[in-house]
Each structure stands twice: as C-alpha cells, then as structure tokens.
C-alpha cells in the first residue's frame, strides 16, 4: 500500500503546455478520480504517474519513494487501459498471470493469485479461453483481474468503462467499487464521465486546460464548486449561471434579492436545478421553453431575464411551454461567482 505525491509536475509538447505545475497528494488506499473534458491533461497525468510518458519537470513519489526517473516496471503499479490491452495471443489465465510471471513467481503462487483475482471479477469460467472469444465486458474484467493479481500498491485506470454499453457500465461501476474497497488499493481513475467519478471516488480532482480546478469529496464538489467550470461540468443537468446586477450590496433580479459581498456591479449566481422552488408570486421570472419528463423529475428549460436556465420540478407538476413561473432559489445553496474570473466568492448571507 502506498500514497502518491505529485510534486510540481509540468508537461509541455513543444510550445503547448499540457500540464502546468501540478501538485497533488493521493492518500494511501484512497480512490481519486481525475475528471475533465477531453484534452484537459488527465490522461497525460496518469501516464506520467505510470512512467509511460516523461514529465518536462517535477517529481512523482509513490509510497515515499521518488520514482520520477524509474521505468514503469520498477514503479510497483498496475494499470487498466481504456481498450483493455488484454493480450490476444494468451489465454485469460496467462493474461491474468502475466504480471506474476514477470516477477518470477512460483507456479503455485501464480495459480493462487490468478484464482483469487478471477474470483473477485467472476471470470473463472473463461480462464482457458482466448480473449477474442470474450465480450467487451468480460475482457474488461480480465484487464482488471490482471491488474489486481499482482496486488499492486497503486492501481491506475484510464477510462476503463468508456467502451462498455450504458447498462454494463453501471453494473461494472458498482462491482469495481466493491472490489477496490475490499482490496484497499490506492487508485487513480481517469474519466470524463462525472457520474462515474461521483459514484466511485473518495475525492475528485476536476481538471481543465492542464490545471486542477478543484479537488474535493464528490458531494462537496457538487454543492460548493470552486469555479464556474466545475459547477458546469459536475452534475447533470449542469449548474445554472444567472448574471444579476448588484446595487448597494444586494444582487437583484426580478423580485429576487440577496445580499452579496462584491465590489463589482454584476455577480453570477450558480444555482442547481433542484435547489429552486416554484412559488406563487415574487422571485425570478422564468419563461418555460421545453419540458422533459425524466421519470423522477420534470426538467424545465427556459429563460430568466433572457438567460438560459434549467429547473427540476416534481414529475406531476402541470407546466407547458410558454408558461411563466416564479422561481425562488434557496439562498443558502446559491454559489456566488465573480463573473470576471469565474471563481466562487465567499457567501454573504
């Protein structure tokens, strides 16, 4: 078992900066998700931790040991690849055994560990088959079993579920969580899917353009995004951002007013779709454009003073496009954002 320390890692490709002076600590046994849109540098960071890519500057420590200059095989980690990378010319058994064989483990030990890992991932019936005979989900299990068989100190996963169909992804997600919980392996998990990150991770690092925008527990990230980007990227539907003029320390729009502490004359209110109540009178005027029944809620898309907004209301609410509703956001759950730099500011109320 080992924690990971990423110390001022920077990666440049020619003039382009993929990662900017990134510092990050992953606790021993922690499950950390690197979440971000494609091109944000999350996979590059993972590959630098693995040693498959070389950082331009900075250092990586695994279990207190400086591994910055070591080849991947000397870093004591295992990895699951997006396209599985299960060797096609070896049986499932030999795939799972690969890491142990490379370490020169005795046959009895190999057998024991392969059977343990195969049991965890429920692939015992396929051990003698070749990967070409397996479905995508089964291959993914083989890839995870191969990683767990070596009992790694650190497990790296690069979008491991993105090639699976939606239903299988949900199933594998909960299974992964229970397997990794019981093994207590330090895990770094790259994904662009915020539901996956929310569901799996102890902490999430949200990355954007080569920097970490925020790192926190999933719920905290959801409720208190540090930047407009995080609010917009985490959660579905994304957070609403409504610009409000500020006068005499009050942000005011329609009949809604809330004290704020800002020197600017405009402020952005970040409001989650479910943190809004429909009231009889007052509040924010909302013109409904589209109604989407989602089963558990009715999602309304419309405009508040010309700005796009989404509101989740009770599924049995009677609303039609063209209606005007009055909205009352719950004040304690609004995230106030400085429109100039996109950063959240301290709560006034």
């Amino acid at each position: 078992m080992a924690g990971i320390r990423i110390d001022a890692i920077e990666k440049r490709f020619g003039a382009a900066r993929a990662l900017e002076q990134l510092t990050l600590d992953v606790e021993d046994g922690e499950f950390l998700a690197l979440l971000g849109p494609s091109g944000c540098g999350k996979t590059t960071l993972l590959r630098i931790i693995a040693g498959l890519e070389t950082q331009t500057s900075g250092r990586i420590f695994i279990g207190g040991r400086d591994v910055s200059a070591l080849p991947p095989r000397e870093r004591g980690l295992a990895m699951v690849f997006q396209n599985y990378a299960v060797f096609p010319h070896m049986t499932v058994y030999e795939n799972v055994a690969f890491g142990l064989r490379m370490k020169g483990a005795a046959d009895a030990e190999v057998k024991k560990q392969v059977e343990r890992a195969a049991g965890l991932l429920h692939i015992e019936p396929y051990l003698e088959r070749y990967p070409a005979k397996l479905s995508g989900g089964q291959r993914q299990r083989v890839a995870v079993a191969r990683a767990l068989a070596v009992q790694p100190a650190v497990l790296l996963m690069d979008e491991p579920l993105s090639n699976l169909d939606a239903l299988l992804r949900l199933e594998m997600r909960s299974e992964l969580k229970s397997v990794l919980n019981s093994s207590g392996t330090t895990t770094v998990y790259v994904t662009h899917d915020q539901t996956e990150a929310m569901g799996l991770a102890d902490r999430i690092a949200v990355m954007h353009k080569g920097v970490i925008e925020q790192i926190d527990r999933p719920q905290a990230l959801y409720e208190r995004p540090a930047t407009r980007f995080v609010g917009g990227f985490v959660g579905s539907p994304p957070m609403n951002f409504i610009d409000m003029p500020v006068k005499a320390g009050l942000a005011r729009l329609g009949d809604f007013a809330n004290p704020v502490s800002t020197g600017r004359d405009t402020i952005t209110a970040g409001i989650r779709a479910e943190d809004i109540a429909v009231v009889e009178r007052g509040g924010l005027p909302f013109d409904v454009m589209v109604c989407e029944p989602l089963g558990s809620t009715l999602l309304l898309t419309g405009r508040v003073a010309g700005q796009l907004a989404r509101v989740a209301v009770r599924p049995d609410a009677v609303v039609a496009p063209g209606d005007r509703l009055n909205l009352e956001p719950s004040p304690g759950r609004i995230v106030w954002i400085d429109p100039a730099n996109g950063k959240a500011i301290g709560q006034a109320a």
Binding site: A78, F81, N83, A85, H89, Y130
Partner: protein, 282 residues
C-alpha cells in the same frame, strides 16, 4: 437489378482475362512442354534434367542460398523495423532511404555488386590502398567458391531485405501500442516485450514476408548471373541456359516446374508452421 449483379464480374473481367492469357495459358503450356516429348507424354525432359552435371549443384546452391539469405534478411529486417519504431523524427526519411534498393532491378543490383567485387573493383582498390593485398584478387572466380557465395549473399541481402522490412513495418504498425505498454507496466523488460508480445503478434506479417521472400529466393537468377555467369549454377539459371544456350525448351520447362513445386512446398510449410488460430487473433 440484373445489371447490378453483373457489374462486379464485369469489373474484374479485364484482370481475369489478362491473368488467364498471360499466366494460366503459359502455365499449362509449360506443363505440357515439360511432360511431353515429340508429342507423347513422357518424363524424358526430367530424366535429361536430372542427368545433367549441373543439376545437383544447382539444387544444392539454390537451397544453400535460400538458407543463408532468408534467416539473415528476416533478422535484419526485424532489427531495422524495431529501430524505426523507436524513431520520433525523421522516421519516414530513414524508411525511405532503407527501401531504395526496392526500386532497383535485380540485374542492376547484380551489376552494382560486380563493380564492387570484380578484379579491378572498388573492394580490391580499397584493400590495395590499405596495403592488405598486392594485386587484384579474383573474389568471384569458380576457384574461390566461398567468396563467390558470400558475394552473392551480400548482393541478395542488399537488394531484397527492403521488401521484408516494408512488410514487417506495416505489421508492427498494426499492433496497438497499449499491448507493449501493458507488458511494460506489468514488469516486462524490452527483450521480454519483444519475445512475448511483439513477436507473437507479428507472426502473420512474418509469415507473409517469409512466403514472399522464399518464393522469390528460389527464383534467384539475375544477381547470380551478373556476379558469376555460370560459375555458381542455380535452378533458374539452368532453366535459362537450357532454353537459350542448349535450345531445349523441354528441359527448361522441367526446371520451371521443379522451381514451382519447391516454391509451393515452401509456402505450404510456412502456412502450416506459422498458422495463427482464429481465436488467437486480435
């Protein structure tokens, strides 16, 4: 509808007609030539071929050449292909330079090496300058079979390794890099990765390269002819001699049939020995 169904056949018709006229018909004629004597079926031509002084020699030489050249070429091409894979910049330029010999006809290649290795060639000039020999050495004479053989091997390797390289480079590019990366993560060093991952996954390409090169190596002629005349008899060289010198196209056809049979046998052996079962394919 009918037109649409006929269209594919119409489109492949020219190529088919071309091949039937210029390949199948001559093949049948060659077989007929080889197995007929004065219009009757007979093995006379084969008997004449087998009874010739150069027959055993040419078979021995051809096989010796194939056994020396093919493994050397496969090993060299593998090393070169792996080296090219490691290059970031200038990869295309290096590949381009390495495959230049592909554009040179085998006779021209033979003449190039003749210019190097003959009595007053470049090789002797250099040796003379270094003071290693007194006068011109005849490397390609029938009295120096070893140096003659080495000369032919050198020319063949120089000329025909590039085609093996091209096939192997194409094959390597088909192997997703994640396999190598996964092996690296799980503890495999460079040599183990090559042996356990690259080589097995490259097997279909190696098979193609071996078949192509071996078939062509059994047909070796122009390079040998340029360097040695008939001092180093090979099978196709004998066919040529029977056709043009002895004016006996029956025996020449028998040689052609023999070369074809050997090539077919080699191909069958490669296909069997290097088979990749479908379940082990990516």
């Amino acid at each position: 509808m009918t037109n649409n169904r006929l269209l594919p056949y119409l489109l492949i018709a020219p190529a088919t007609v071309f091949l039937v006229l210029l390949f199948v018909v001559p093949l049948v004629q060659t077989i007929a030539l080889a197995f007929m004597d004065n219009g009757v079926a007979s093995l006379t031509n084969f008997r004449k071929m087998a009874g010739d002084l150069n027959f055993g020699l040419s078979i021995g030489n051809t096989f010796l050449l194939v056994l020396a050249v093919i493994p050397l070429q496969i090993c060299m091409a593998l090393v070169m292909a792996m080296m090219i894979q490691k290059l970031d910049k200038g990869r295309d330029l290096v590949l381009w330079i390495w495959i230049i010999p592909l554009g040179i006809s085998d006779l021209a290649a033979g003449l190039v090496w003749l210019a190097i290795l003959q009595d007053r060639g470049y090789f002797n000039t250099v040796l003379n300058m270094l003071g290693l020999v007194d006068g011109p050495v005849n490397w390609l004479s029938y009295e120096a079979p070893v140096s003659l053989f080495v000369g032919v091997v050198l020319a063949e390797v120089w000329r025909a390794t590039a085609i093996v390289l091209v096939i192997l480079v194409a094959g390597l590019q088909l192997i997703p890099k994640e396999y190598g990366e996964a092996a690296e993560i799980f503890g495999a060093g460079p040599w183990t990765r090559f042996r356990k991952i690259t080589l097995p996954l490259l097997k279909p390409s190696i098979q193609s390269a071996l078949i192509l090169r071996t078939v062509l190596a059994f047909e070796v002629f122009a390079v040998v002819y340029a360097l040695s005349g008939r001092n180093f008899p090979v099978l196709v060289g004998e066919a040529y001699a029977w056709q043009h010198v002895n004016q006996n196209n029956g025996v020449a056809a028998a040689y052609a049939i023999l070369v074809m049979a050997i090539s077919l046998a080699a191909t069958v052996i490669y296909i069997r020995a290097l088979r990749t079962p479908p379940e082990m394919q990516p």
